[in-house]
Amino acid sequence: MKSLRRLTRDQKKFRTALIMLAPALVFLAGMIAYPLATVIHDAFTYRHLINSSMTGFAGLENFKTVISDEHFFDAVQHTIIWTVFSVLGEYIMGMVTAVLLNQKFKGRAIFRTFIFIPWLVPIIVAGMTWEWILNPEFGIFNYMLTSFGIVDAPINFLGNSDYALATVIFVNIWRSFPYYTISFLSAMQSIPGDLSEAAAIDGAGMFRRFFSVTLPQLRSVSLVIVFIHVIWTAVNYDFIWVMTEGGPNYATETLPIMIYRYSMRTFNVGAASALSTMMFAVMAILFVFYYRKRTKISEDMA
């Protein structure tokens, strides 16, 4: 009798949980899992957005199309540079600002607000405003550079292929680093103060305290935030499209821009899907490393 009642109660729990989760699961299944499966399927299929006579199993043809694209290896290289330098810059900026804001002083809340605000700006607005600031003809930045005599002639930051990628990375860092600041700050505030005090009494200086006490405590949050941003940055389409559309002369073309070009410009869905699938494969490998490392850190902590 008792066991029967328990069972029904468990069943009831199960039913409630399922009902509560259902809407979320429907969305994830329909809008993420199903499209994901479609992408992988299409990667091995001939498929064209307009020309519906292209059908059938393609084997590895689509992958060949992508790899033999004359811009493919450059795009891979740009994607790596774009991701590594963006994340590195964001990490350093985020860490420095978090350390500064993690002290007691007047006006701290105002500075925190100032530093967080870029994160609220739509990417399009961030890109556009910086483009205007850096404009070679009417931009204030070039005007300052030339009037202080730092450069002789205005620099076309986005129109010159030597500077374009670096400029887009700079704007990305401006827009994205505040998230690191806030994450590090909230992690630092949960570090017990006596740890740092004890180190200070033992004679550790400011930098020593940071590297031996604070930084190790931030390992876990650093791992999460760096991993997520590596993924988000590598696949980011908006920044580059908004500022340069991959130009000038393909100097800022990354893999997501290539995906867009294949799907929305040449309508070759098969090739776009093959490229997406390759990116998924790389992400999956990264995820395995990340998951292992994360488990290891939480074991160390315990």
Partner: protein, 280 residues
């Protein structure tokens, strides 16, 4: 003595560095705002200045009325509000399940599914999502954007809500149950009134995300009637000679509402955001 002096130096250095960082983060806003009030002659000059000789509202006039931004703002508002409401309902339900029934296998699997979904970037799903919207016949409408925006915020919003529900003691619910409330009543009468701060931060996150999104709005919508604000700015720029004054005015219009809301709600917002992202 020395210690005191060191501390004072540290403080001065802190202030100087923070001022430098603030100039870096705030300069584009200030410049955007200044330029939005400048007449054409002061925009297209090789010697730009921080002062405006003849401030004018004509940039706003051009962008809002002549370029039809009033309509785009309306569209952005509709899409963002609906996507925000929808994601909150879904996130409250799922977050509650994640928090209260975490021992069940369904819940564990769903938790993992959400973690993975959070990592899957929208651009890689661009083509199939476009096809789905086309098949559903909602490409040129609010529906496609609402669906897409809701989906991509569900994981983080759910984590934000569930980490809040974790802090609500079980005893509170048990007491309500003894008083004769069923699960739904408990949720609405006891738990949600307690969750206002988390609801605010979750909703704000969903809203900001929808308001700022660019790619789907750019690709799913090609008619002026349903265009949202961010793609409209991009297309406005694409015109032959760039009207920078009007562009800056349009940017001000896009940024101001977010900033004002954020300034009022930042304490809730940041705390909720951090709780959710640590969990995910």
């Amino acid at each position: 003595m020395l210690n005191k002096r060191n501390r004072r130096i540290a403080k001065v250095v802190t202030y100087i560095l923070l001022v430098v960082f603030s100039i870096y983060t705030m300069f584009p806003f200030v410049w955007m705002l200044i330029c939005s009030f400048k007449p054409k002659t002061e925009i297209r000059t090789a010697t730009p200045s921080f002062l405006i000789d003849a401030p004018t509202l004509e940039n706003f006039q051009r962008v809002l009325f002549d370029a039809g931004f009033v309509n785009y703002i309306k569209n952005s508002l509709i899409v963002s509000v609906v996507a925000c409401a929808l994601s909150m309902i879904i996130a409250v339900m799922a977050g509650y399940a994640l928090s209260r029934f975490y021992k069940l296998k369904v819940v564990k699997v769903s938790n993992l599914a959400m973690m993975l979904s959070q990592m899957i970037p929208g651009v890689l799903l661009l083509v199939p999502l476009y096809m789905i919207m086309r098949q559903l016949g909602i490409l040129e409408s609010y529906g496609s954007l609402i669906l897409a925006y809701t989906t991509f915020v569900i994981p983080l919003c759910t984590f934000m809500m569930s980490s809040f529900f974790d802090t609500v003691p079980m005893a509170l619910e048990e007491a309500a149950e003894i008083d004769g409330c069923n699960k739904a009543q408990t949720l609405f009468k006891v738990i949600l009134p307690l969750s206002v701060p988390s609801l605010v931060s979750t909703g704000l996150y969903a809203f900001i995300n929808a308001w700022n999104e660019f790619m789907y709005g750019y690709i799913f919508i090609s008619t002026d009637e349903y265009r949202t604000l961010t793609p409209a700015i991009m297309l406005f720029k694409g015109a032959n000679t760039i009207d920078w004054g009007a562009l800056m005015a349009g940017s001000v219009v896009a940024v101001i509402p977010m900033t004002v809301i954020f300034l009022f709600l930042q304490r809730y917002f940041l705390a909720g955001l951090m709780a959710g992202s640590v969990k995910g």
